[in-house]
Each structure stands twice: as C-alpha cells, then as structure tokens.
Symmetry: C2
Subunit: 453 residues, 2 copies
Amino acid sequence: MQVVLNYLESRQQQFVEELREYVSHPSVSAQSDHRADMQRCADWLAAHCRDLGLQVRVHDTPGHPIVVARTPRRRGRRHFLVYGHYDVQPPEPLELWSTPPFQPQIRAGALYGRGASDNKGQHWAHLKAVEAYLRTGTELPCDLTFLIEGEEEVGSVSLESFLHRHRKELACEAVVVSDTGLPARDLPALTYALRGIAAFELVIHGPDRDLHSGIFGGSVHNPAVVLCQLLGRVHDSRGRVTIPGFYNEVEPLTAGERQQLRRLPFSERAYRKLLGVPALFGEAGYTPNEQRMARPTFEINGLTSGYQGEGSKTIIPAWARAKVTMRLVPRQRPATILRRVRAFFRKHCPRSVRMEFIPGHGCAPYRLDPAHPWARAARSALERAFGRKPVLMREGGSIPIVIRFKEILRAETLLLGLALPDDNAHSPNEKFDLEVFARGQRMSAWLWQELAR
Amino acid sequence: MQVVLNYLESRQQQFVEELREYVSHPSVSAQSDHRADMQRCADWLAAHCRDLGLQVRVHDTPGHPIVVARTPRRRGRRHFLVYGHYDVQPPEPLELWSTPPFQPQIRAGALYGRGASDNKGQHWAHLKAVEAYLRTGTELPCDLTFLIEGEEEVGSVSLESFLHRHRKELACEAVVVSDTGLPARDLPALTYALRGIAAFELVIHGPDRDLHSGIFGGSVHNPAVVLCQLLGRVHDSRGRVTIPGFYNEVEPLTAGERQQLRRLPFSERAYRKLLGVPALFGEAGYTPNEQRMARPTFEINGLTSGYQGEGSKTIIPAWARAKVTMRLVPRQRPATILRRVRAFFRKHCPRSVRMEFIPGHGCAPYRLDPAHPWARAARSALERAFGRKPVLMREGGSIPIVIRFKEILRAETLLLGLALPDDNAHSPNEKFDLEVFARGQRMSAWLWQELAR
C-alpha cells in the first residue's frame, strides 16, 4: 500500500492539471448547443481511461454517451461499481463568476470551475487511486467498473434502461458514489440515508375565465383564495405537517443517530447567515440538521395565479396552481403519501371550485445500515485517509440512481461524498478543494483493500 | 317634447350609421401605436359636435386629447355635465372575434365592435338627444357640457388635473354618466352606489436566494407556505373576512335596498353557467347580487412564487408575492382598511420571514341618496323612456372619476347605465343593443326636462 500512497502523493500536481483539463470541457447536458462538447468530453475521458490500461467503451444513448471503464478482470475478485457523471449544471448567470466557469483556475487551495466538485473532481479521485495501483504494478484487490454518465443533471434519463440492458456486466457487490458532501475538510462522512421525493401539482379551477372583480367579486369563490386556504392548513404552528398519516411510516431517529448528527459542525448564526433569513424555522423538537436530513417536508416550489405583471389588475383569476415537492424519509413511500395528500385536499376543497391533483415524479428514500459490512469497510477507509472517525450522516436530497442500483442491480450504495458545504455546487464559482481531492484519492485506495477483506 | 321624440324615432338608422363610423376608429388608449388613431377619433368626434352646433374644443393633454363640447349658454339655465370616453379596451385576442373589432357590423339588433357599448354607444345616445333639441329648434331646458375623455381605460391619468384647471368652466349641478349597466333591455336602472377599491401587494421574503429543497428543506421557513398561511386565514368558512375591523364602517343594507336588488332578474343556474363555476360562493346571509354589489370583498388577483415553468424544480423560493384588491362599500375608507389589513398580517407573520406590505391605489366608494332631487329626476326620465319603474341598483365596480367629480367639482353623479349584462365589455365580441340605444336617447331627452324642473 505504501507504494500506492507514495505514487498518489508524488503526482498531485499532475492530477490537478488533468482535472483542470477535464473541467474545461463545457459538458452542459441541459443545453443542446453543448451536444458536441458532451461527446468530446466523453471521448476525452474514455481516452484517458484507456491510457491507464482500463477496458473502455463509450455507449451511445438517445441522450448523452455513457462511459464504462473496467479494470482487467481477475477470477475470484469481488466486483464493485464506481458511479459518477461528467455532465455539469448550466453555468449561468455568468456575470456572477469571478473567473470563467470553463477556464478553471486554482485559488486558495481549490480548483474553480463548473463541474469541479459536482462531479468531475469527485470521481477523478477514484480514478487516480486506481491509476496508482495500475501504474505501480500493485495488485488491485477487487475488480472495478467505472460507470460515468452524462445525464445526471437532467434526470439520468438513459441510465435506467442502460442498467437493465447491461445488468449482467454491471452485476456487483456494491456501488461506490462520491457525489454528496462531507461536513469539513478534516471530517469525513459516510452518508447512510437519503431522503426521497414526491412531487405534485395542485390546481384550483374557478370561473372559466378571469372575471372582473368589481362586477362579480363577492359572489364567486376566488381559486387563489381557495388554494391558499388549502395549502395554508398543511402545516401547524410548530412546523408539523397536519395531513393525516403523513408521518405514519417515518422511523424515529435513534439516540445513536441523533448523536452522530450532533457531531456535524453547526453554528445557528452562521447557518442563518448562509441562508439569509432573519430566523430559522422547522419542525419543533428537532435540530436544524435533523430537520433537513432526517425529517420529511412539504415544500411549495412555485405559485402561479392571475396577474403577475406591473401594477394591478382587478380580476378573480380563473385558476391558481401550486407546484409542491415533499421530501420523504426511510419507509415513507411516494405513492402512499401522494394518496394521503390528495385525500386531504379533496376533503377540504369546497365544491364551489374544481380541484385538480396532478401527481409528479417520485423517488423512494434510501437507507443502508451503517453496521452493514460494506458500510464498515467504507468507514475504515475514510478513517485511514482522513485520520479521523467519519461521521455517520444523512443527506436531505434525493439520488434516484441509488434506488435504481438497488432495484435493478440489487446492490447497495456507499455514499462517500467529497464536496464541501461551500463548494457552490449548482451555483456560480463552483470549486473543489484540493486537500479533499488528495484525501479522497487515499480513501479510494484504502477502500478497495477494505472491501476486499 | 313630441317633436324631439319624433325626431329621434325618425333618425335611428342614421344614428346607427354614425355610431358605426365612430366605433370603426381603433381608439385603443393603452397601445402607443394607436396614438394617431386616438387623435383622429377625437377630431372626428369634435367635428361631429361642431356640426350639431355645439361649441367644441379639443384639449391636448400629456396623454390623449379631451373633447369638450358645450351647448350654447343661456342665462338662468342649470348646467349639467355629460361625461363619456372615446377610448376603448384593447381588442385582443383577435381570433375570438366573430367579426373584426373595428369593422362594426349589425347582427340581431345589436352593433358589434370594440367600444360599441363601452363607451361610444352610451354617450352617443346623449349626444343624439341633444341633437334632437337643437335640430328641431326645441329649447334645451338646461345648459350642457359634454366632457369626453380618451384615457378612461388607462386610469383617466390626465383628467384629474384637467378638472382642477377647468373647474370654473365645468362647474355644474350634477354629472350624468352612462358607463354602467342595466339589468335587461326593458328594465332601466339608476345606479346609486359604487364600491370603492383598495389595492396592495404582500411580499414574503425568505432566504436571500432560491434554496435547494433537499439540502435545506425543513430547516428554513418557506415564504410561499407563509404567504398561503397568511392569506388562507383572511376568510372564514362562511365567506366573511376575518380581519379585525374590516366591516366596522359598513352600512347595513336597508330592507328597501334589499327589496330593490331582489327586483333584478336573477337565475342562479344561469349565473353559475355565465361564470362557469360548479357552485356559487359568497358571504353567508347575502344574495349573490348583494354580495357583488353591496358587500366588501378581499380578492387575490395574482400569486407569484418560485418556479412556474414546465415540470418541477426542487427549491424553497426566496420570496412569494400576492396582488390583492379589496372592494369597499360606502363609509369604508381605503386608507383605514389598508391599515387594518397590514396590522393583521403583521400580527400573524412569523419572524422567520420578512414581510413587505406595499399599499397600492385606492378609491373611495360612492353613494347618492336615491331620494335626492337629481336622483328623482333621473328615475322619472328612465321611467318615461322605458315605460317601467327603474330599479335602484348598486355597482360592484369602482369609477374613480365619480369621486373626482365629487371632490373637485363638488357635484354628485347620476349613473344611468345602458350596457346589457351580455354586452361583452372588455371582452371579444363587444356589442351595443340598438333598442337600448333608442331608449337611451329618449331617456336623455326627458332627463334635461326633469333636471330643469
């Protein structure tokens, strides 16, 4: 192992230069004028993997290519999948970037550029760990397949059918994903649970056209008023969701889990400042970290009704619409929750309007027992690389692909995030910390040892 | 009088042709590419009035011209003002018109075209009554001034300062305005009260930018949720506004007033169908006509927050905004009501968000005692022209200019509307009923007699 670690240590500058080149590809999956850039980025990645001695294929899809790179197979070794994505979020608004998003620059120990942290830098750490094994002639203790897709930022549209078609080739013990966060540069984390999601739109239809509020107002129910009344009763004053059955399947947090979450560095004042709010607010009885990582939510994402322009327009709008997503926690099921929400609104919606409930996408929550053998292996690797016991944390967001790995490949996922909280993923001035990059490489090098045991 | 009435009867075809030419002017005050059309329309109107023997001036304003046409003055006669407007609503959406809005056509006893009913046809009836006096050499029993503006549909911006500047010339006993409605072709109406209005915007500011609902959701108050909670508590289940003091100054409807409103033809089924709603809803204890004419309301005119496009976006929006207008009834004052509304929201708004309350335009309600001498005169004229006792009704809308006449000219206003409920004012296929047109002329001819007594 020392050879591998020495190799990594000696090549940091080169790795950063490679990553800089990787990040310079404007691989924006959402924007069709970057289609050629997507192909170029996939080809560049494939060529790099081939140079390292991996067996590489670039698979065309109806969307953007998927790159699959395998270490040479050895009989009797366990097989693990490393998942990542080379596509990035749109960089707009460009005027908020200190340096151009696709001309990556190093400042204060970090590489700045769109995709540096999400996700190019993170899977680059794993790739460099494997390079260290291959280039030093050290035997890799397991077989590995890198699965790097190009549609993560647009919903991984092609990946599901790809997983089905390549189920045999991709069959593995577990999937390793570094696409989440760690609390601080020196505090590694294993993310063992993800929130799920259930989306819907609620539309209240009133009169069949916008009505003059002077001529008709008072004698007809205003759909915007009804929408506000329905949505206004979803939460009580303590931040609890009042929809019957909403919490039925929620697993209570154990004392151990709460203790782990308390290990996360947290200053209420700093957090408040980060969000720019006068005061925090959430479900009573839970800390902000518990609220955002381990408790379900009901969030209005958008409201639309009537006149939204300058000045005023004296109408009773014909309709009012809300876009809602709920974050779900382990054991809550999107379909069940959506059913209860619809029943709640049906019950309270007056018959003077017509209610339309449009279910949207859903994704189950995820949980891997932190005492599971793969989780234990990951915790050891993190501790070795960072010199500190990793915190066991949860992620408030949803990663649908983790659910697909479970359903299609029957494999659990190890979430070993390398993004710092201030990495500005999806925002201007995205960066990737170079110290975390180096530690991530060491973590990966150790991980294959631990997983092979 | 019979000479005057005979003249009117014999000239109907000519009057309709003139009105058709008047309506063919696309005098859309809101659209700047119709600026020249506005001037042409004002000039055409002025020339027509001059032909009748009126003393005419076209006054330039910062906006569109105001046409003032006076009958020759006779010492000792009372002076009344006839107000109207030659500007019209934009005709869009054009594809919904059966015939082009500015190529007026006669169908089934009505003239179809933008502005036919609102307001060209209505003041044309008064002008033709005056023509009958002048052309038959019958002495007009009072002095009249026609004040026809070109900015009614854009807020009568120039009129207020015009009234101030021409206060002496326009000083009058009362103002006659035909710009409201009558319930049916054979049921004339005196509108003796108008609702006022008070507008505001309520903005709830949450985080200083849209936040990822997965990463942060649960620990920060969603401003769209808070907005819905605040607005959702404004009405109780019986349709009453719960804001303390909202009804303090409201005058209860008298038995006589309610009896008059019951004279209005009303079919709940037909009304429901007209509005396209599954059921009516309004303040308990009042009929739909009472609710829309004589009771105050709180209407959300628009809601805006977060993501409104296709699909979903998982954010906690940075802010949420509602546009609200309240219709006020006699003795309610816009400033007082706005103060109470603001206090109500202040009290209930949690300190986890920042509330912004932006007062908008306001207009006092209006009421003229139906037993007032001018009101009695108008009721007589209506009865003579239509052969039926007019109903005493209220108008749910607001006509700010009526308040200006009262404040600046110290004159009451007689609202003698000639628009039928299905005239499609402000909508495609606007029309003006030709039978009502003829009766309106007779009503006007009688009115000067009655007012002169």
